[in-house]
């Protein structure tokens, strides 16, 4: 019988492409022969926009890249500018940034875990995790007034000091949240069907993961112990004691979807540890260091990278000595993660493409910028 391959356009409007992504699937029945991601549906010329903005004005733009981890985007950008200008921010600012950053990491991972479950048909864990994420957003709202796009970290400091209740409420959140991780594990992580769907699917061995340029939980899921918070430490992460979870092939082989998923679950626990250590040590002080109103870095360029929830988030900034950056280039982790899907999804079924895409945890705002 004569058969031919079928091309199926998944997206740009599709429930599980996590935004406006179009995947061109070349299919033989249900078997995937090739996946080509087509991006650009959310392109907003952000990097070009930055060239017309002053340095502090760029911060809100970084919010809108990885909109699920806006705080961490701020963190990376202000870190780069401060490094370029050689500013030392007060200790209080560093502590608050780390706590807020880790809370943001938890919030981002909760979305990742929830939508991954959703991609596999488990609806309920998604809502449980969003319920918990809501509590983090409430903390952020109290701190800076916004729930999604914060513009909170400024060059040389923060837009506001933390709310007086922040420390108490964060501790309450930790106490509340720890048991819900156990709940998630019982409901989803060790569910037989869930394991069947994710174990040995989209396997990415360590060598291939490095070659593909994967970073963050996706790289660690493949068993590579690499975390910028420890390996190229920034801010005050070297003061805290935390582990770097890596994929161990708990239910299948190292680097499968389940490993990538489970690394995120464990990272959430590690983030809680960091917050617990930091929350009691916040020193008193000012949240704004002596930065001139007109931020004018010296001529030069800088590449600063941070461990964002989705991987290595790098900012390359070229300064020509004026008020506006001459060039801002972002190394977005999701962009690199998405490029790996072609390699990872070959030979699996349509349903697995959805699982693999979910396990890579991409955000289109960051890919298209």
């Amino acid at each position: 019988m004569k058969t031919e391959e079928m091309i199926l356009n998944m997206g740009p409007q599709h429930p599980s492409t996590h935004g406006v992504l179009r995947l061109e699937l070349v299919l033989d029945g249900e078997v995937v022969h090739d996946v080509k991601p087509h991006i650009g549906y959310l392109h907003r010329c952000m990097e070009k926009h930055c060239e017309a903005m002053t340095y502090p004005q760029v911060v809100p733009y970084t919010d809108r890249m990885d909109y699920l981890a806006a705080m961490y985007n701020n963190f990376g950008y202000v870190g780069a500018v401060e490094k370029l200008m050689d500013i030392k921010v007060p200790d209080r600012v560093e502590y608050i940034r780390v706590i807020i950053g880790e809370l943001q990491r938890i919030a981002s991972h909760l979305v990742a875990l929830g939508t991954f479950g959703l991609d596999l048909g488990a609806f309920t864990p998604f809502l449980y995790l969003f319920r918990d994420r809501e509590k983090i957003l409430d903390l952020f709202e109290e701190t800076c007034g916004a729930r999604l796009l914060y513009n909170y970290m400024w060059v040389g400091g923060l837009s506001h000091d933390i709310h007086p209740d922040f420390i108490r409420k964060t501790k309450e959140f930790i106490d509340y949240f720890r048991p819900t991780i156990v709940e998630l594990n019982n409901l989803l992580t060790y569910n037989k069907i869930f394991i069947e769907r994710t174990a040995n699917i989209g396997v990415c061995p360590a060598k291939e993961a490095v070659n593909l340029g994967l970073t963050g939980p996706n790289l660690r899921g493949s068993g590579v112990k690499f975390d910028l918070r420890k390996d190229d430490t920034y801010s005050i992460y070297n003061k805290f004691d935390f582990d770097i979870p890596v994929g161990e092939g708990g239910v299948g082989s190292v680097g499968d979807c389940w490993d990538r998923y489970f690394v995120r679950v464990q990272e959430v626990e590690q983030s809680l540890r960091i917050i617990e250590q930091a929350i009691d040590q916040i020193p008193d002080g000012n949240v704004k260091s002596e930065v001139p109103r007109r931020v004018k870095p010296p001529v030069g360029s800088i590449y600063h990278r941070v461990e964002a929830p989705k991987g290595e988030l790098g900012y390359f900034i070229v300064s020509d000595g004026s008020l506006n950056p001459a060039r801002v280039k972002v190394r977005a982790p999701s962009f690199v993660s998405l490029s790996a899907i072609g390699e990872m999804a070959k030979g699996y079924l349509v349903a697995d493409v959805v699982a693999i895409l979910g396990s890579l945890d991409i955000v289109l705002g960051e890919i298209d910028r």
């Binding site: 599980s16 249900e30 488990a122 449980y128 319920r131 769907r197 349903a351």
Partner: protein, 359 residues
């Protein structure tokens, strides 16, 4: 009633047809009412499982929400794309619904009402639920949409595969009860609950106790395979929204979409009632009738209706519970469950039950 109608019409054939049509009306009414209720229940069950409230605005705790939704669906434009195969596209949803409706007429709701008291009742139920496949394939092909095609082919493969374990278990049950008439099956389990199929049926002696574990296995197999046949989670591959958007009904809107919807929810109760008829005594009360106690005869059918719907709803609730707890299996795993596990077990079960019945 048929004699009475024959007198009016003066023609037996016309009278017979009229009787059948009239018998369908209560069934149709039941399906519509049940679906209105079940959709609301599904939303409420899922909401409360997920720390939400669900519909709260239309009526008390949103009971009229489904009515409002249905009105909205009816008003919607009936979209038929140029590339669709018009004839098939238009027939498909009604074929699916009519097949489901026809299966309902076999169900003995009470001892005095059965839509069609056919002697091959369960056989017809199986045949007609298989006919749904034709409608789904028509829908998928006529939609001229790749997602619909995938959805419908998956549905066809799934329903046809799971017919086999279902049929094997049903065969076992026919051996146990010695009849295919669902009303007679129910009557065989009459009076108290230890006469129910799951407790080994109405027989006495050693055979009854030997049957119990195998009846339980049969119950589990039938539950899983009928769940798969009605495309419910964890077997909802034909309309797995995260992969195929909406499966075979992607292109449908308005009243035609609601026909698919109606059939899907009606199928949920159908599963429940088949399980109830074979294993849980059908419309029989577990501990005698209140009507017998106080000597009011007309109360008995009402009680029977209550028990039948109540037991059926219990299984509807379980399938909702499963839906909001479990992820979805993959296509190949679905087939593995059917061919590697359910069918051999069902065969084995059939053999053992046959031997027990011989001794």
């Amino acid at each position: 009633m048929q004699n009475y109608l024959t007198e009016i019409f003066g023609n037996e054939l016309v009278a017979e047809i009229t009787v059948y049509v009239l018998n369908t009306i209560p069934v149709l009414a039941f399906i519509v009412l049940f679906v209105l209720f079940a959709v609301w229940l599904e939303r409420k069950v899922s909401a409360h499982m997920q720390d939400r409230l669900g519909p709260m605005r239309v009526g008390w705790h949103g009971v009229l929400q489904t009515v409002a939704d249905f009105l909205k669906l009816v008003q919607k434009e009936d979209i038929v794309a140029d590339a669709n195969d018009k004839a098939l596209f238009n027939i498909a949803p009604f074929l699916v619904f009519v097949a489901t409706l026809a299966t309902y007429t076999m169900l003995p709701f009470t001892s005095i009402f059965v839509g069609s008291n056919a002697d091959v009742g369960i056989f017809l139920v199986l045949a007609l639920s298989g006919a749904v496949v034709a409608g789904i394939l028509m829908a998928g092909w006529a939609s001229n949409n790749k997602y619909s095609l995938y959805g419908s082919l998956r549905a066809a493969a799934q329903i046809v595969s799971y017919e086999i374990p279902t049929a094997l278990v049903v065969l076992t049950m026919i051996m146990v009860y010695g009849t295919m008439n669902l009303g007679d099956v129910t009557e065989a389990q009459t009076s108290y609950f230890w006469n129910w199929g799951i407790f080994g049926g109405a027989g006495l002696g050693l055979g009854k106790f030997l049957l119990v574990p195998f009846m339980f296995v049969a119950f589990i197999i039938l539950f899983i395979s009928t769940l798969a046949e009605s495309n419910r989670t964890p077997f909802d591959l034909p309309e797995s929204e995260s992969e195929l958007v909406a499966g075979f009904n992607t292109e449908y809107s308005g009243i035609k979409f609601s026909m698919f919807f109606l059939a899907e929810f009606a199928n949920m109760f159908l599963i429940g009632s088949i399980l109830v008829i074979f294993f849980f005594g059908g419309y029989n009360s577990p501990f005698g009738y209140f009507g017998n106690l106080i000597g009011v005869d007309w109360l008995i059918p009402i009680e029977q209706l209550f028990w039948f719907i109540g037991k059926g709803m219990f299984f509807v609730f379980i399938s909702m519970w499963l839906r909001w707890t479990l992820p979805r299996v993959r296509v190949d795993q679905l087939m593995t469950i059917c061919w590697k596990y359910l069918i051999p077990y069902a065969f084995f079960n059939l053999l053992i039950v046959g031997l027990i019945l011989l001794i």
